[in-house]
């Protein structure tokens, strides 16, 4: 099971001029084993959706609910949500100086499973996961994300997805800033993750090109803090041709 159900989600952030509503009622259900793509122009609230689900303190959920397999996430702390099975691949993975990738991964795996992974097999698993995304084993001893290129950070996110094996993954613009080789490697990682058929993915992207490699079951167009259109993979093809303009205009008329 890996059903993520978002209903009536309203989220605001604090600004200098007071609270500002970013998400204006999001309803979305991603069934077990499905891949949903969320596409939208810059500033539409896509990343806010990702961070709000993961529990970033900057985002204040004013109403609505997010459940993973029926378990309410919005009342949980950030780490409780992760232990409930949620994973967020970040658009800008954070550098943590002095904390090695290996140490970080072992600490995370221990926290998620409740027991420390066996040293001998774990090192092999880490090296294998790194190799699959084209990072050599020296990355395990380096400080987490420090001095990594943009592409290396994204590959590292996908290696974590592989090793930590969550129920449900939100990928926030994991494809942005990648060259074609890195895009293919990252896409293959996502496909390996969904292969078993019981893992869910919410793929947030600005561009259609990753959808050539990762086939979504559904595509949602996100404008002004909510979903304005949905369809199958063909909706992405339409966006490729016509862009977001008509959806943005329609949203303005509605408003």
């Amino acid at each position: 099971m890996s059903e993520l159900r978002i209903s009536g989600l309203h989220v605001e952030v604090e600004t200098e001029t007071g609270p500002k509503e970013i998400l204006k009622g999001v309803d979305l259900t991603i069934g077990t084993g499905q891949v949903h793509a969320i596409m939208g122009p810059n500033g539409s609230g896509k990343s806010t959706l990702a961070y709000s689900i993961a529990g970033h303190p900057k985002y204040n959920i004013t109403s609505g609910s997010v459940t993973l397999d029926g378990v309410e996430l919005t009342e949980m702390t950030v780490d409780q949500r992760a232990r409930a099975g949620l994973f967020l691949s970040m658009q800008y993975p954070v550098e943590v100086p002095g904390v090695s990738v290996a140490n970080f991964l072992r600490t995370a795996k221990t926290a998620l499973t409740g027991e420390a992974p066996k040293v001998r097999t774990w090192v092999k698993e880490v090296n294998a996961a790194m190799e699959k995304v084209g990072l050599d084993s020296t990355f395990a001893t380096r400080s987490l994300n420090e001095g990594f290129s943009g592409g290396e950070k994204k590959r590292n996110e996908i290696a974590q997805l592989d090793l930590l094996d969550p129920k449900f993954a939100i990928l926030d613009e994991t494809d942005s800033g990648l060259d074609i080789d890195a895009l293919r490697i990252v896409s293959e990682g996502v496909n390996r993750y969904t292969e078993a058929g019981d893992r869910g993915v919410l793929l947030i992207t600005h561009y259609t090109r990753i959808l050539k490699y990762v086939k979504p079951d559904f595509v949602h167009v996100f404008v002004d803090g909510h979903v304005v259109a949905q369809g199958g993979a063909e909706l992405a093809d339409q966006l490729e041709v016509s862009g977001y303009d008509e959806f943005v205009k329609a949203a303005k008329v509605d408003a």
């Binding site: 702390t77 780490d79 967020l88 100086p97 002095g98 970080f104 600490t107 995370a108 926290a111 930590l164």
Partner: protein, 390 residues
């Protein structure tokens, strides 16, 4: 053109940071500070007590435990000899009093060309009262040595330590202020880096009520390289002050300074002042200095002031940075988004913050001691956080 060069010469003849008083052995050149002076304004003078008054010493000298590899000597020397061997005269009243009141000086000598496989360990144990020490460490040309100077116990110590490193030598010098809670330690550590010598200093201030060290460094010839690392943990009520001055007075010299501290508890106070002077002659200098402070709780304060004075444009590079802050929310969020609890995420961040320095020390005994103290600090941090939640 003449006018310009006159100005340049005037600057060169009377150089040095306005922040650094002229070195002198005469106590009268170091009057009792009022607290308004730039170099004293952060220091709680009242708590320095006997370190500033000329009342002689009241305690027994520090008890020294030593481990000296073959060929290394540790001998008492007269105060006059100590002066003659020193890098420079005292730059403040505390170290001037140290040189005046020490009775005899002590010289640690590593002969030229010695290759020491084991570190030299000097542990000074305080048994109460005020004491004064003048230690001169001389390392001969092309020697390789690691020297660890550790202070424990209780004392009010006025300290003058000079480190004269010969040409081409490779030296790691570690000072650990590992005092009991009531100790007070002030003074001046001066390093002279020989031609093409490579010197690394590590200063760890872990205990005591008040620690105030002025650390100065200069070069005795071109091509020398100096790395200075510092680690300090400051708990409630403690005052830890490091004032550094690197004098690039020779060409093609490099310096890298990295001091990091963590503070927790009410009125924990750290001061870091890092001055670097690149003189007109010091062409080809490369220098960088950085200070980072982590404020783990409310109620603590870190003052951090880097200064860079450059008198020539012909340098490789010069820079500095200073950051003081609480935990980075984005780092904590990232770690927690992988299932790691908030308390464990904080510990990871703090360990990482210090690991970057500790693992560069290269002396296993020192590294394990620092890691042990770090773990104890983390326990306090976790307990405090739990107290806040309760």
């Amino acid at each position: 053109m003449t006018a310009v060069s006159n100005v340049a010469e005037a600057v060169e003849a009377n150089p040095a940071s306005h922040l650094h008083p002229t070195p002198s052995w005469e106590l009268t050149d170091h009057p009792l500070p009022s607290g308004r002076e730039e170099v004293w304004r952060f220091t709680p003078l009242r708590r320095l007590g006997a370190l500033l008054t000329d009342a002689g010493v009241s305690g027994q000298p520090l008890k020294w435990e030593t481990r000296l590899p073959a060929g290394v000597s540790l001998e008492p020397i007269s105060r006059e000899q100590a002066r003659a061997l020193s890098v420079e005269a005292p730059i403040d009243r505390i170290s001037a009093l140290a040189a005046l009141n020490c009775g005899v000086g002590v010289q640690l000598n590593v002969p030229a060309d010695a290759e020491l496989a084991e570190p030299i360990l000097l542990t000074g144990i305080g048994t109460g009262g005020s004491v004064a020490e003048h230690l001169v460490i001389t390392v001969g040309a092309h020697a390789r040595a690691t020297i660890v100077l550790r202070y424990t116990g209780s004392a009010t110590l006025a300290d003058k330590t000079d480190l004269v490193i010969g040409d081409g030598a490779e030296v790691t010098f570690v000072t650990i202020a590992d005092w009991a809670e009531d100790a007070t330690h002030g003074g001046h550590h001066a390093v002279s880096v020989g031609r093409d010598a490579q010197v690394r200093t590590v200063t760890a201030s872990l205990g005591g009520d008040l620690v105030r060290l002025a650390e100065t460094a200069r070069f005795a010839g071109p091509g020398g390289s100096l790395e200075q690392f510092g680690v300090y943990f400051v708990d409630a009520g403690q005052h830890v002050e490091h004032r550094l001055f690197v004098d690039h007075n020779e060409p093609r010299t490099t310096s890298y300074v990295d001091y990091r501290g963590a503070l927790q508890g009410k009125d924990a106070h750290s001061v870091w002042v890092g001055d670097v002077l690149i003189r007109k002659v010091a062409e080809g200098t490369n220098t960088y200095e950085t200070n980072k402070n982590l404020l783990l709780t409310d109620g603590c304060r870190a003052d951090s002031i880097p200064n860079l004075e450059i008198e020539t444009g012909e340098i490789e590079g010069a820079g500095h940075s200073s950051t003081t802050g609480r935990f980075d929310d984005e780092q904590l969020f990232y770690l927690r988004s992988r299932g790691i609890s908030e308390s464990e995420a904080r510990q990871l961040v703090v360990r990482g913050f210090f690991a970057q320095i500790i693992r560069r020390i290269g002396v296993p005994e020192v590294e394990s001691r620092l890691l042990k103290v770090l773990e104890a600090e983390l326990e306090v941090m976790v307990a405090t956080a739990q107290g806040d939640l309760a």
